[in-house]
């Protein structure tokens, strides 16, 4: 199947996905009574005496299909509603929080994948040797450690005990003042990229310094899974006949492992890596909260806790689009890694 028509066909799948996700979430909100949903609009006790007026104003006692229809008509006209948590329209809130999460994802994802592939490969190639055992222990520790515990411990050591060596938040106070001054131009609101575009080394170094702890936290936890998956996949690949043939032909072990076996072992890792990136962009709530990197995950969590329904629905829409796109990219990557795989799901 031609690539372009394949992409178009897959993108059209977004529509039923969005429809299904929003109906599901909307349906859950209907479990709350109109009075309970009206109370979400209250910021002061005096407003509580106006509950009936609030219910009427927002149509909270209308049938499900009426409320959903009203919301959908607003969405189709470009209005996703107001995010109480963010204090801005939902559409703006997504773009407000996304750069922070993207910055984490940009640095953490390659690190997780590359280190996971590297150590997984080593562990498989040297099965039952010290490096294999070492990576197993590291994987167990990394996977078992609760993110909040690891994050707080790192903060206490590197920010507390070492007196501010690696601080939380995205930038230090002097750099915050700098990036919000006329001397600095904001392009993407991703601090590292904007620093490069502004040719400002101080901001870049400061941003990188603040990224170390949250990226390490994410990497330690997530790398474990990639590492073990890569190991399993490599072991299977190394047991295949073509590897035996390659060795019989006199190829070096390094070429056998890196050129022949690893490429075939990458397919499941690619699948997981795609979802890993989507999961990080989706938002890593605990890491974002502990290190004060308020991204999409923090916003989604706050929206859920505070029953900011408009934000929850907006986040669901964002997620649905994200996962459809990630799935598409992963499927296209398959065809590059494995020439036997054709677009449309057929095998040659």
């Amino acid at each position: 199947m031609e690539l372009r028509s394949y992409i178009i066909r897959r993108l059209l799948l977004v529509v039923p996905v969005l429809f299904g996700v929003t109906i599901f979430i909307f349906g859950i909100t209907m479990l709350f009574s109109p009075i309970e949903r009206a109370s979400l609009y209250v910021t002061d006790a005096r407003m509580m005496t106006n509950i009936p007026a609030i219910i009427e104003m927002y149509g909270l006692d209308q049938p499900f299909y009426v409320q959903y229809g009203n919301w959908m008509s607003e969405v189709l006209s470009g209005n996703l509603g107001w995010s109480t948590v963010a204090g801005m329209p939902v559409w703006d809130a997504i773009w407000h929080f996304l750069p922070t999460t993207l910055e984490l994802a940009i640095f953490a994802t390659p690190l997780i994948i590359l280190l996971g592939i590297f150590f997984g490969t080593k562990a498989a190639a040297r099965k039952d040797r010290p490096i294999d055992h070492g990576t197993r222990v590291a994987a167990i520790l990394g996977w078992s450690l609760p993110t909040f515990f690891l994050g707080l411990v790192l903060l206490m050591i590197f920010y507390g005990a070492l007196r501010g060596l690696l601080p939380p938040s995205r930038l230090s106070i002097p750099m915050e003042l700098l990036v919000n001054s006329a001397e600095f131009t904001r392009y993407t609101h991703i601090n590292t990229i904007d620093a490069i575009l502004n040719l400002n080394g101080r901001v870049l170094l400061d941003a990188l310094r603040h990224l170390i702890l949250p990226v390490v936290t994410l990497t330690v936890v997530q790398m474990a899974f990639i590492m073990r998956l890569m190991r399993s996949s490599m072991l299977e690949s190394l047991g295949r006949g073509y590897v035996l043939t390659a060795r019989a032909k006199g190829l070096s072990e390094r070429v056998v492992v890196n050129k022949h076996a690893r490429r075939n072992a990458l397919i499941p890792v690619i699948t997981v890596s795609g979802y890993l990136f989507a999961a990080i962009v989706n938002g890593v709530v605990i890491t974002e909260t502990i290190f004060n990197f308020k991204g999409v995950g923090w916003w989604a969590w706050q929206s859920a806790v505070r029953l900011d329904i408009a934000s929850v629905l907006g986040f669901a829409l964002f997620n649905a689009v994200l996962f459809v796109l990630v799935n598409l990219v992963v499927d296209i990557l398959y065809t590059r890694v494995d020439p036997r795989v054709r677009l449309g799901g057929t095998m040659q």
Binding site: M48, N50, G87, H96, F97, L145, P168
Partner: protein
């Protein structure tokens, strides 16, 4: 075998290292905090603001920011909540008893940060604009009531002509016509609130805000969301010592020094407020010197004690708030009342309408344990809703004490003895995650279990079950379904006056008392009479009577007035506490930061 032992040992050692590091705490109390960020005041807190529009803000977080960018006509004098000092006005107001007008002369030579001169027309526009905006649930009822009468709560209850007549320019003066002479003190307190900050009329109109005419009101009346009101939401323009540089929603607010400030030197080049939800991060920031002040909840005071030698701590600060149990006199269609009858398996819907039941519950509450456990001893028991620091506070207000024998006596007298003989069972609800309220509910439950066991010989005779629900659900039950036997909620001052606290607790249409079914015409008249009394001594006597009545009627269990603290680095000078100050940091314009 050796290899397995080696790697198992590695795992144990690494885990131990993590645990020990995690238990290490934030530092050794007494370590010197580094002096950082010269000229910048950094405050870390939880929760973002809602808006920079003075007519919108009703919360303390927004009020703090608005109070740094804008200014009012007058403000509280130092730590007082009853004395005032002039700010944008040249005096604290001249009251004319013949026509109930309050006159302020507007200060000359004051500029907004954009260079526009402050004029009396700006003051007039500020109040008219607020009353023509009247956002739902907003603070502007505090303009309507003093200026247009106690029956006016919203724009629909009055007319545009009445609004414009209530605030007039007379030369260099602005004249407010009050609904009655008794409003003078309360209205001055209202003028100290962030909602009374003065905006730049020309700036507003030039940027698409209300143009001052009746025809344009409909375009701005009752905005639903903060962003609906337009420019002032995130583009403030005030006369205050700082201007807005950046509002990065949910992250931080950066204020710059106002180079046009009229009232002397501005002590900080920048004020940065950072929203940091994680307590550990805030604590570490304070100890690392990155923040000059952080929000410390009462539950963390004990944890901060080892760090106090390094910090500047201000303690025993009484906050103007009160939490209470409200007994529901008429429980609607409830699943929390057991059988719904006085048969030992439940309670009837009017269970708390019996005075002896209410007094029994008041005596059965362990106030000292509540303050010690729920508030970490940071609280003082009060006998009525009027707390210390309010105009009209009566320091000799009687209070209930924890006395089980009294509780038994009253319950034995309740409902002709049936309540004691048959017992009762119902469920108490609290908002999930609120530990003080959970503690309060458990104290009620435990007390009645103890009474049943020690005095009735039947530990299951009096059962109070405790259940958590989400806060929106609790609110919906209190003000909607009204099916909770008792509910807990607290009150903060709009202005520091006894009337502002007694009304919600005692008036038949009060925010809380109405929904618990307490209040009557006689009490309503007494509240009005007390508020409208112009003789100070007589008025204080009337407020004493009302506080006595609250004790006698026992419609609820008044819990405690919280005591708060502030934790600064040693480099901040000039902090003083005013319980009505919306800024958690105090009046920053009167403070400074230096290394020495």
């Amino acid at each position: 075998m050796a290899r397995k032992f080696l790697f198992s040992s590695m795992a144990v050692v690494v885990t131990l290292a993590m645990v020990l590091a995690g238990c290490g705490g934030g530092g050794d109390g007494g370590d010197e905090i580094p002096y950082l960020n010269d000229g910048v005041f950094v405050y870390e807190t939880i929760g973002d603001i809602y808006s920079f529009d003075p007519a919108w803000v009703y919360d303390t977080a927004s009020g703090m920011q608005v109070g740094m960018v804008y200014e009012q006509l007058i403000y509280y004098d130092g730590s007082s909540t009853e004395d005032f000092q002039p700010l944008l006005a040249t005096d604290t107001g001249t009251f004319n008893a013949t026509d109930n007008t309050l006159r302020f002369t507007i200060r000359e030579g004051v500029q907004f940060s954009n260079g526009n001169d402050l004029t009396p027309e700006d003051v007039e526009y500020t109040f008219e604009r607020a009353m023509c905006q009247d956002r739902p649930g907003g603070p502007i009822w505090m303009f309507y009531q003093p200026l247009l009468g106690e029956d006016v709560w919203h724009y629909e209850h009055t007319t545009f002509a009445a609004i414009t007549s209530a605030v007039e320019v007379d030369g260099d003066d602005v004249v407010f016509t009050l609904a009655g002479p008794y409003w003078e003190t309360a209205f001055k307190q209202i003028l100290c609130g962030q909602w009374a900050c003065i905006v730049d009329k020309d700036y507003c109109i030039d940027n698409g805000d209300w143009d001052g005419t009746e025809g344009d009101v409909e375009n701005f009346l009752h905005p639903e969301n903060p962003g609906d009101i337009g420019h002032l939401y995130d583009n403030p323009m005030g006369t205050g010592p700082w201007t807005l540089n950046t509002w990065d929603q949910s992250n931080q607010i950066i204020l710059d020094k106002n180079t046009n400030y009229w009232n002397g030197a501005v002590p900080f080049d920048n004020v940065i407020t950072k929203v940091v939800d994680e307590w550990s991060s805030r604590k570490l920031s304070l100890l690392a010197g990155e923040a000059d002040l952080v929000y410390v909840p009462a539950s963390r005071f004990v944890e901060m004690e080892p760090e106090e030698p390094s910090l500047q701590v201000f303690q025993d600060l009484p906050s103007l708030s009160i939490d209470a149990f409200f007994m529901n006199f008429d429980i609607h269609n409830s699943t929390y009342v057991g059988s719904g009858a006085l048969d030992g398996e439940g309670i009837p819907s009017d269970f708390f309408s019996d005075i002896d039941v209410r007094k029994a519950f008041c005596y059965a509450f362990d106030y000292d344990t509540y303050i010690a456990d729920a508030l970490n001893s940071q609280g003082v028991q009060r006998g009525s809703p009027v707390v210390e620091g309010l105009y009209g506070y009566w320091e000799d207000t009687p209070m209930y004490s924890y006395c089980l024998t009294e509780a038994v006596d009253h319950m034995q007298a309740a409902w002709g003895g049936e309540a004691w003989d048959k017992g009762f069972e119902f469920t108490l609800l609290y908002n999930a995650g609120n530990l003080p309220r959970k503690t309060a509910c458990e104290l009620v439950s435990e007390a009645w279990a103890k009474i049943g066991n020690d005095y009735a010989g039947d530990p299951e005779r009096f059962q109070v079950n405790v259940q958590a629900l989400a806060w929106p659900t609790i609110l919906g039950k209190i003000f909607g379904t009204r099916d909770m036997p008792m509910f807990q909620i607290g009150w903060l001052p709009d202005y520091p006056h006894a009337d502002n606290f007694l009304n919600p607790f005692m008036h038949s249409q009060g925010v809380f008392s109405h929904f618990q079914g307490y209040g009557n015409n006689v009490t309503d008249a007494a509240l009005t009479a007390a508020f409208q009394e112009t003789d100070y001594e007589t008025q204080m006597g009337l407020y004493e009577d009302l506080q006595q009545q609250y004790y006698d009627d026992a419609p609820g269990i008044v819990l405690a007035q919280p005591i708060v603290r502030r934790y600064f680095t040693p480099y901040i000078d000039g902090f003083y506490y005013n319980p009505c100050e919306s800024s958690y940091a105090g009046r920053l314009i009167d403070m400074s930061k230096s290394e020495s």
